[in-house]
């Protein structure tokens, strides 16, 4: 029997320093295992090969896509031609789609992160009537399926004239129940009561305390919510599919799927080139999020650590 008691889910050290300290302590202690490394590299191949295929495929013409081996380049690589064709097809509608996606996802992510941070802080650090009930109500909403919500939201938006406008995508994305949950858990640990007390003693107003002290302490959690809302909105397909019918308003996801449908249907005329455009467009649309994740990984990983451990 071990004398240690397993932690029952309550262990949350300050999330930003724990992983670093652990990594430093662990590195010199143990040897590495070659078989395990090889096994995990095989696993890695499964996850990266499709993306490698996408990258290679985006250098091919539609004809080469069909006639040459998928995981190697053709004799006549034409990545730049494909990119040019992607951006000039249908009067440059692809650039519209990219900009729309950036707009919808950017505004939603920033808005959702700030709303969740303020509310999470409010729930974590203030006692008021209905605190628990309101929080549980929001948490329960995580389980409401997107369809149950999307269809009536569409009908309501149709009544007030929001359908087929950017707001139809942005507004619903501003409310992130999971973001609120994460921010509440995060605020509980990352914002010491003593700092709040001290600031209040110094006569700082609640809003000033929030904007100048609390937001900074919440930064890793904030980045996490921001990034995950960004992904959710960037990758959203269902909502824009329902809400938008003007191709100029489409985000990349709906746009690409409409091109894919054209490529599927048409063997003749202009659409015979669609396959290469779908592939190249897909490749282009993947890059920004991957870059965002790689650049911000230090923040979102520590932010997730808190949310995943506590309940």
């Amino acid at each position: 029997m071990t004398t240690t008691t397993p932690p029952a889910g309550g262990v949350v050290p300050a999330a930003d320093k724990a992983p670093k300290a652990a990594e430093q302590r662990r590195r010199p202690a143990r040897r590495t295992s070659t078989p395990l490394t090889i096994a995990m590299l095989a696993v890695l191949a499964y996850f990266l090969l499709p993306l490698l295929w996408l990258l290679i495929a985006s250098t091919k013409s539609t004809r080469d896509l069909i006639n040459t081996f998928g995981l190697w380049f053709s004799d006549a690589p034409q990545l730049l031609t494909n990119i040019r064709l992607t951006f000039t097809q249908d009067d440059g509608v692809f650039a519209h789609w990219l900009l729309n996606t950036v707009l919808y996802a950017g505004v939603s992510a920033v808005g959702a992160a700030i709303l969740a941070a303020a509310a999470g802080y409010g729930f974590a650090k203030f006692r008021f009537r209905g605190n628990g009930a309101a929080f549980n109500l929001v948490l329960g909403a995580v389980m409401v399926p997107a369809t149950a919500l999307a269809i009536p939201t569409y009908l309501l938006f149709a009544k007030v004239g929001l359908v087929n406008t950017p707001w139809a995508i942005i507004l619903p994305s501003l409310v992130s129940p999971f973001g609120l949950y994460l921010m509440r858990v995060y605020a509980q640990d990352a914002v010491p009561d003593s700092i709040l007390e001290a600031a209040r003693m110094d006569g700082a107003g609640e809003f000033r305390i929030f904007s100048q002290i609390v937001l900074r302490l919440l930064a890793p959690g904030l980045v996490t919510v921001l990034l995950f809302t960004l992904v959710a909105t960037w990758n959203n397909y269902f909502l824009p599919l329902i809400m938008l019918n003007d191709p100029d308003l489409y985000p990349v996801t709906v746009g690409l799927s409409s091109w894919a449908a054209q490529a599927q249907n048409g063997g003749a005329g202009a659409s015979s080139d669609m396959l290469a455009l779908v592939v190249t467009g897909s490749m282009i649309s993947v890059i920004p999020l991957v870059v965002a994740f790689l650049m911000l990984q230090r923040y979102w990983q520590s932010g997730l650590a808190t949310g995943g451990v506590k309940q």
Binding site: L54, P152, I242, A305, V309
Partner: protein
């Protein structure tokens, strides 16, 4: 002193007000509206009339809905345990400190999460392709019969593969992040007591992962039963394999936007939502009961 205490108490609701206002408008109002809609029926003659729970009775007897629900339930029972087990194994491997290139491996497995499901599905759809997909090309070169990923009997598995590819990394990161917060002294104490790597994984790491596992399981319940994007996109490639009621969610969408049966669609989505809530709560209750006090 009394004044000093009163201020923060009154500020709390102000901080949550913007979020709650939008929540009421964009979550509760549509839900209420859907509940209201689901009680009506549009008749060819006489317009819309109140029918009480008729739509729900019809839905419970609807074979298309039943098939869709059974299909996503099958998908859930097979795909989710597999995905979470893989995520758990990967997280433990990364946390073991035995890996070279662990950072590269960790981020590489996570990367598919950042790929839009539309792109992932289109990509896998082409990879699966019977004519020019690399799998078909390889088996052609080796004179083997080409795998039929996009046929009726393979489709659920092919979908499961896409979803697994997309979400293993996300779940792995949540579990890995939870593992990193276990204090090192626990391992040292256990090692002193003679516990090996497996014993430590079983007796320390797994119990500590329970909340994180519950969280990933919860997301997976919601995700599986809402399955829409992947089948909806593959439907365009192989319409004879995937029909418009292939999953429950796809069926609700078709009812609302193709058949214009808004009221019935509302009832169907409500039932689906109810099912998800019931299953989620069942998992939450089991997880909470098992947790040591």
């Amino acid at each position: 002193m009394a004044k000093h205490l009163a201020r923060p108490r009154s500020a709390g609701p102000l901080f949550i007000a913007p979020f709650m206002a939008l929540f009421l408008l964009l979550f509760l109002a549509p839900l209420g509206y859907a509940a209201y809609l689901s009680l009506f029926q549009e008749k060819l003659v006489g317009g819309t009339s109140f029918v009480g729970l008729d739509n729900y009775v019809t839905a419970l007897k609807d074979p298309q809905l039943r098939e869709g629900v059974i299909r996503v339930a099958t998908f859930f029972v097979i795909q989710v345990p597999l995905m979470l087990l893989l995520a758990l194994l990967f997280a433990l491997a990364l946390d073991s400190g035995l890996l070279r290139l662990s950072r590269v491996i960790r981020l590489g497995i996570f990367v598919p999460y950042a790929v839009p499901s539309v792109v992932a599905t289109l990509m896998w759809g082409y990879l699966y392709g019977p004519d020019f997909g690399p799998f078909a090309q390889l088996s052609d070169k080796l004179s083997l019969p080409a795998p039929h990923f996009l046929t009726d009997s393979w489709m659920l598995g092919s979908l499961a593969n896409i979803v697994t590819w997309e979400f293993v990394g996300y779940n792995m990161i949540i579990l890995y992040a939870a593992l990193r917060t276990i204090p090192q002294d626990l391992y040292e104490a256990a090692a002193l007591d003679g516990a090996g790597a497996w014993r430590i994984a079983w007796s320390i790491k797994l119990p500590a992962l329970r909340p994180a596992l519950t969280l990933t399981l919860l997301f997976s319940v919601i995700g599986s039963f809402q399955l829409f994007n992947e089948p909806n996109l593959l439907l365009k490639i192989v319409p004879d394999v995937i029909d418009s009621s292939y999953t429950a969610n796809l069926y609700a969408y078709t009812l609302a936007f193709t058949s214009q049966q808004i009221n019935y669609a509302a009832a169907v989505s409500f039932l689906l939502g109810l099912l998800i809530v019931i299953i989620s709560y069942a998992f939450l209750l089991t997880a909470n009961r098992r947790r040591p006090a």
